[in-house]
Amino acid sequence: MADTMNNDAFVEFERVQKSYDGENLVVKDLNLSLPKGEFLTMLGPSGSGKTTCLMMLAGFETATYGDIRLDGVSINNIPPHKRGIGMVFQNYALFPHMTVAENLSFPLEVRKMGKSKREEKIIRALDMVQMGDFAGRRPAQLSGGQQQRIALARALVFEPELVLMDEPLGALDKQLRETLQFEITKLAHDLGITTVYVTHDQTEALTMSDRVAVFDDGRIQQLAPPDKLYEEPENSFVAQFIGENNTLEGVVKEIKGDVALVQLDSGEVIQAKPINVTQAGERTRVSIRPERVEYNEERMQDGAFTLKAEVLEFIYMGDIFRTRLRVAGRDDFVIKTRNAPDQARLIPGSQIKIGWLPEDCRALDA
């Protein structure tokens, strides 16, 4: 709470709730603030409330309770067209009956801008997204990627300070998506605009954002920069949702400072870092990233905790190897190793020893 009352916050959600039917809350007590120039991503599975938050910010949905402030001013009662927020939609929403230039001209015309000034801005915006040659085309004559660039240019042409993007790359193929991810991030930083980006693609969220807000069940589960989010998930939902993750379930036996002893359901006792377990006897899920697990005994670091495992499956994925193991009675334990010359390929059926550092192993809520 104290965090959200930050004075240099540009966008603020304060205790925002949203219900469509009066019975269920789609957004439950949302508090969020982001400073000017930040690229924030709302990440979550569908139905988690992230798009609703975006729509409330854009003005297309009204908050059932709470306050949304833009630059210190409550915008709850300001209609969308007066908010001055640029928006990029998932299906681009380029006006099909207008050319690219007319699409870009539209926000400038409604702002009663002169013709020469309009043209100048349109050209600049098109150049910005490298679409200078396409001014006379109609949206239907453009590819998906080109349309999205135009949609981006249109959202930026009237120089909004805040731009919202609702899964803008969802309909594009992987390669194009990666190119555009990079371009959007660069553009946002170069122009210094504040961006709220909604996606359900965690890679997108991690690569693009300054901070990521992970949504689930109408709440922000964790709000953190990408690295922190990945490496230090605060609860088992985030750990599961972001990246690949191995989960072992058990009961906390003892907590000694920075180390918790967890008795797994299969009987083994392992060491883990207590994150949101506080006392012995609690059920917990222990989370270990696949790439933090080591099986080469020579490289195993001091203090690493070891466990026996059986190799079930070896998958060659090019840059990495993905090996599925049976660990502590579970068949879905995965380790990832880099494809290096000295890296051995594990043979299914062989018995090995795996190990990890206790700080990489996080004991989370059950």
Binding site: H81, P107, R111, F158
Partner: protein
Amino acid sequence: MSEAPTAQTASSHAAEARIADAAHTGPMLAADGTPLKKSLNRALRVQKMRALALVAPLLIFVLVTFIAPIADMLFRSVENDIVSETLPRTTTMLAEWDAKSTDIPPEPVFEALYKDMFFAAEAKLHTRLGSRLNYELTGTSSLFRKSGRKVEDMGEVYQDQFEVQNDFWKTGENWNSFMASDAWLAAMADWKPADGRQPAFELRDGIASTLPATSAAYVQYADFIQNVDEKNLYKTDPWAVIYSSLHEDLTGENDLAAYSGPASAELSAAATAAATFETVNFTEAFAGIDKDWTTLEVWQTIKVYSPKFTSGYFLNAVDMQKSVDGAEMRPENQQIYGILFWRTMVMSMAITLSCILLGYPVAWILANLPTRQANLLMILVLLPFWTSLLVRTSAWKVMLQQQGVINDTLVWLGIVGTDDRLALINNQTGTIIAMTHILLPFMILPMYSVMQTIQPTYLRAAKSLGATNWTAFWRVYFPQSIPGIGAGSILVFILAIGYYITPAIVGGTSGTFISNRIAYHISQSLNWGLGAALGAILLAAVLLLYYAYDKIVGIDNVKLG
């Protein structure tokens, strides 16, 4: 293509190379070396044939039951062979007569008219021609009917004189003996009524050059007796017209001496006698039947309408008439079709416009409601379709009349006084109200289906870009809904322009359409030619408007779903 080359021989590898590198090797080749275009066409042809076979039943059905009758009907708007077929001799003779002269045609024309009328009266065709020409000149119908009755007696003078001169002329058998060929006479001798059709009459060789008029008349007579009357020609006595033709031939410049066939003696004797026969002046005879035969107008009309095809119906349909000086406007008080066409266009546009105004919001609501409620409302829109057109129109009669529901309500509310109740029916207002109601679904449905495809994100995008609700609607939503308006308008306008039941019931005199007039000509005045011409003009107008619409809005922009 991608799999084929692996199994190919070296020669086709060369072809493959050409496929891959067509920039400098002329036409592209398929894997087997034939030009790619050719093999593509071959591959497509089978598909096309299959597609054609699928639509063939409907195509044939449409051709037979729709296109062909329409084409036949439209053909009637120019067809005019009734005049030249009923009066063949007269129209031929009239060709030499100057219709602009102040004199009525000379005696030979009247003589030709006598023969034509005689045959026409026997076949009872003269009344049909009379009604046909009556469209052009009132009174012609009764003139022809009257003349048809009396024309039979006109030539009897000749028959009597020939029969007095020689009994030979009295019987059909004698006539046949020299008019007919020997082969026919032999065939006829063997013929019994039980055999069915009589052997077709054949003219004797040489008789046609000796007695041209008689031969022509006799052939026509024989054909009629054999095929229409179905009497035994062998035993039938000739008509008066044959005798007058014979008189004409015998007193003319025909070389009777060259004829040596049967009855040549009787013929030369008759020829001598005929020179002294009492003659008939056909001009006076016709004038005796009706003075109208001596008026220029009748003859001008016959002459103007002699050709096999006429523009007369079309001229009539645009308030003009055909005269000897060519086409000219009808007198002011006879002009009705121009006004009707104009009224039909203007009212159809008014109906289309009111359908747009009323239908657009409904379609918008339908497109933006949740499916369940939209379907429910859709039933209300479609409900009129499930009710008889006649019932709906009659209901409007109840609603709109002076003592009707609407006027009663207005009077009760005090909006209009009892004495000045609104005239809502039997005028244009009534037609527009009733037809707007009846055609509204045709406007709503295409608009609805187009609006359904306009995603709400467009409006959101427009608003996020700073547009007010109105601007977002007008600049973003409305342009995208135009295809629906276009489709609806075309449907409604074309339906309205050809409507006739509703205008007939609620339109009175000032609210009727051109279609009512067409219906009148088809079913009451039986002037099908004029009806067809009006229909053709209507069709042309619709096509023209369609073309204009295509040029202005673009037919690609019309979406029916």
